[in-house]
Each structure stands twice: as C-alpha cells, then as structure tokens.
Symmetry: C2
Subunit: 247 residues, 2 copies
DNA sequence: CGCGACCTTGAGCACTGTCAACGCGGGTGG
DNA sequence: CCACCCGCGTTGACAGTGCTCAAGGTCGCG
C-alpha cells in the first residue's frame, strides 16, 4: 500500500510568510489544511525578514559559502543543487511557494541555490531566525514540520533515483510535480514544468538523453503528450500512476 | 570542495537521553561538541519516555501503521526500510546511538523499522512529545537540529545512490560508517559493519552480488581487507577517500 | 534571417541485474 | 564428536539498460 506516496502532499494555499503546515505527526484529522501564522508570529518574522523579487537564473548562494540567510519562497521556482568533482550536477530539490531552503552545516551551505523562474521570496538572517525560534515554540514547530516534510521529500527522491528504468523515474517525477504544483485539483491534466530537461535530468540522476528518450517513450505509450517544452498533458492518468508506483 | 562530506559528521558521545546537538545553522565555532540536555529537559522527557531493551531482528513498526511513538537510540543499531511492490527492499537509513527515528506523515509511519543488533532505546508517545516540544523551545531546537541532520544524511545518501559504479558507492558507505561509528578517532582503521551484505545492498540500491563484487574489487585494489563478514580493515585510507569522493 | 541554447535521435560500450551454481560457517541433533 | 542443514556470501555467464559520443533538429530572440 505505498500507492499514495505522491498524493499525500498537503494543500498549498500559502500567501505572504505563511508556512505550509506539515506536522511531524498529526493525529490524522483527515484535513491537513493550511494554517496561517498568528499575527504575533507574522510580526516576529516580518521584523527580521526582507522581501525580495529576483529574476530567473539568479544564483542565491553557493555550497560551502557562509550561511547567513534562510529563504522562504512566496512565488516562483528555485532549485538547490551540487556540482560534483566529475563535472556533473545533481539537483537536490525544486522549491515552490511555501517551501523553505538554505540548509547549512557548520555555518556553511551544503548546496547551491538558483532561481529557475522569476521569484519573490523572504530572506531571513539565520541568527535572528534561530533567536525567534528559541523564543516561539509554536512558530518553531511550523519550521520543524517543514523540515520533516523536506526530509520525507528527500527520502522519496532517494527512492526515485534507485529505479533502473528512466521512464519510471520520469513518471514518478511527473506525479510529484503534479501534486506539488497543482495541488487542489483532481482534474487538470496539464502539468507545467518550469525547469529545463537538463534540470530534470540532474534531479533524476539521468543523462539528458535518457530523459529525452523517456519522454518519447511515455508519449509513444500514449500516457502523456508534450504540448511544448514546459507543458505536459496527461492522457492516461491511471497508467501514469501505475508506472510511477511500479518501483 | 565536497571533500569533507563524510567527515563533518559530529562527534558522538551520547549517553542516556542526550541528543546529539547538530545545529541547523551554527556560527561555526569549530567545535560541534555534544551538548547534553539540561536537567529540566531530561525530566520532561523521562516523564514520558519508556526505556526498552530489545533483541536483534525485532520489527519496531511497519510502514503505514499508526505512528504512536518516536524512538531514540541509546545503544545498538536499527534500520529503517521500505518494501517495494516489486518485492525489493530499500534501506533508508541505519541508526546508531543518538539518533531519532519514527518519522510519520498523516499519523502513519512512512517506513518500517527493525533492530539489527540488540538495542536499548527510548520510546516516546508522539502526542506527549509534541506537547513537550510546544512548551520547551530549547528542547525542540535540539530535535529540529537532529531532523536537519537527518535531512542532510538523506541528501548524502541520495548522492551515493546516483553513482553508477558499485565500488564507489561502497567506498562512500564505508567512509560514512567509519565517521558515524568510530567518530573520535583518526586512527582506528577497523570498521565494524553490524549489518548484513543484504542490508548494505538494500541501502546502496545494489544487488547482493554487486556488493560482493565491489568488496572483492576494493580488496583486490589493496584498499581494504575483510577480516570477517562484519569487520573491515582499511589498508589505504587515502585511496578509499579518494574513491569515495570521485562522484 | 541567423545564431545559440535546448532538445532529439542513433550506434557502440560499460556496467549492473538476473539466474544459477558453488563455498563457507555456525547451529542442531543424533 | 560428527554429519547435516540452512542462511549467508561468492563467483561466473548472459542479457538489459543507461552513458557516451556524435550528428541533426527545433525554438526563441536579437
């Protein structure tokens, strides 16, 4: 019964500084509805946060660089990645509205971050943020929930990447993007892919060519159709899901 | 400069309920020394925690099962894993003294957990724990740091699994285990592997045979020697690290 | 219109997965 | 004490899959 892996991603209706509530453990009320921050929490954060609008393809920070800020996406898409000694690049995650990023270790970022589209985001100084968190347990719990959610996402990606067949990896990717970008519809069969094929390849740990061939295969099998480079139409949802789950 | 990936794992000198401190961001003091919990924090936890001694090979919980508890390892080794529809198994992580586990989503565990050796651990009811965390920001921050550390670990595993060569994956695995189990020595060239070859294969997303061949290759190249099934001697540390870093 | 970035397609190669057989080693029971 | 057995690990042969290298195609923008 691992069938809903990609379907349990909670709704995303964030605005402003709100943080998508993703409890570490919730009591299973059924609705993991978005809870907005209390006024006090919003104040706390607004005091230290800076709102930024940035163009596409902008590097926010580089791995190993001093980790001064944490970021919260309000709008647009960001990717985090690492460049390997071999020259290859691995994308760790794609970040959408409501996501936090800027993970560090020993005061240094563990990966690089770059905007894919134009974005608006909040930038928070790390020390000010940790101060606030230490004094506001409830707000911190939101953050904890976010990080736990990110942890599950990384586990899911870890699973995707272990698949041997490119088509299966791509199918899983499409399903998760579908859930993440178009959360509250059961109906739209359109999937927007803001990122390039190269980004997808780097995320799935495939070569560019393999992604291309996998796309062709899904098309040939009548599962999807590529309207253009950044827009996919799902022709057969159930077969897509079946393929995605055939890990 | 991704060279220290496996080396930045902090020291492990935990005892009792202490939680290894792994700051989300720390100011880079150089020492990420273990900080023990305050007496008050220890009290808070002891009140709700139950200490258990369990034999090897015992299943603690199964994925999709109701997530009632969170666990903290005091001694021994635990693995978390998922069984896939194909019949294959994927090990998500090996957990040692100081590690937390029991990640859930929507009130259900996202994977299964089983002891590898005999273990002692603390078992905490989820709701009681979240209560305590909501009222003790400092303690919660420890947990947040742990989860952030686990997140980095999963990212690292995600990287390992993308390698195409089995020997390289095994080398990375050996390095990380070396840092995790034998933290505070620069000198012991012995690595204890409590888990079986199958567990390693399931963690590295390789077949059992591939792990076996990779072991043979490392031996043939004079990098390691297998004293027995669960004990490896590193003959050439620098070549091991070099291989591990050649991602 | 033309350039460049992005994407697609093809051929040969390297690697792991799979299947199958064999070796080892600890436990059990006679 | 020994023979047996079963789990675990090793080794070999073959097929399947993606990677690499190379060439051609498409889209968008100046």
């Amino acid at each position: 019964m691992t069938s809903r892996v990609a379907r349990v991603v909670p709704q995303n209706a964030d605005q402003g500084l709100s943080i998508r509530a993703v409890p570490l453990h919730d009591t299973g009320t059924g609705t993991t509805a978005t809870r907005l921050l209390t006024p006090r929490e919003q104040d706390d954060l607004r005091r230290i946060a800076m709102r930024l609008r940035l163009p596409a393809r902008m590097v926010l920070y580089r791995e190993e660089g001093p980790a001064r800020w944490v970021f919260a996406v309000t709008d647009g898409v960001v990717k985090t990645y690492r460049d390997l000694p071999s020259g290859k690049r691995r994308v760790q995650s794609f970040l959408f509205a409501g996501d936090l990023f800027g993970l560090a270790e020993q005061g240094r970022y563990v990966n690089s971050a770059q905007t894919i589209t134009a974005v608006t985001l909040y930038r928070l100084p790390v020390d000010a943020l940790t101060d606030v968190l230490q004094h506001d347990a409830e707000l911190q719990f939101r953050v904890l929930s976010k990080v736990a959610h990110e942890l599950r996402e990384q586990q899911r990606r870890g699973l995707v990447v272990t698949r041997r067949d490119a088509a299966g990896r791509l199918a899983m990717f499409l399903c998760s993007i579908q859930q993440r970008i178009h959360p509250n519809d059961g109906e739209s069969d359109q999937i927007v892919l803001p990122m390039t094929r190269s980004d997808i390849a780097a995320y799935l740990a495939l070569s560019l060519e393999a992604v291309s061939r996998a796309s062709a295969e899904l098309t040939r099998r009548g599962i999807v159709r590529f309207e253009d480079r950044h827009l996919v139409r799902v022709l057969n949802q159930s077969r897509l899901i079946k393929l995605a789950e055939a890990v």
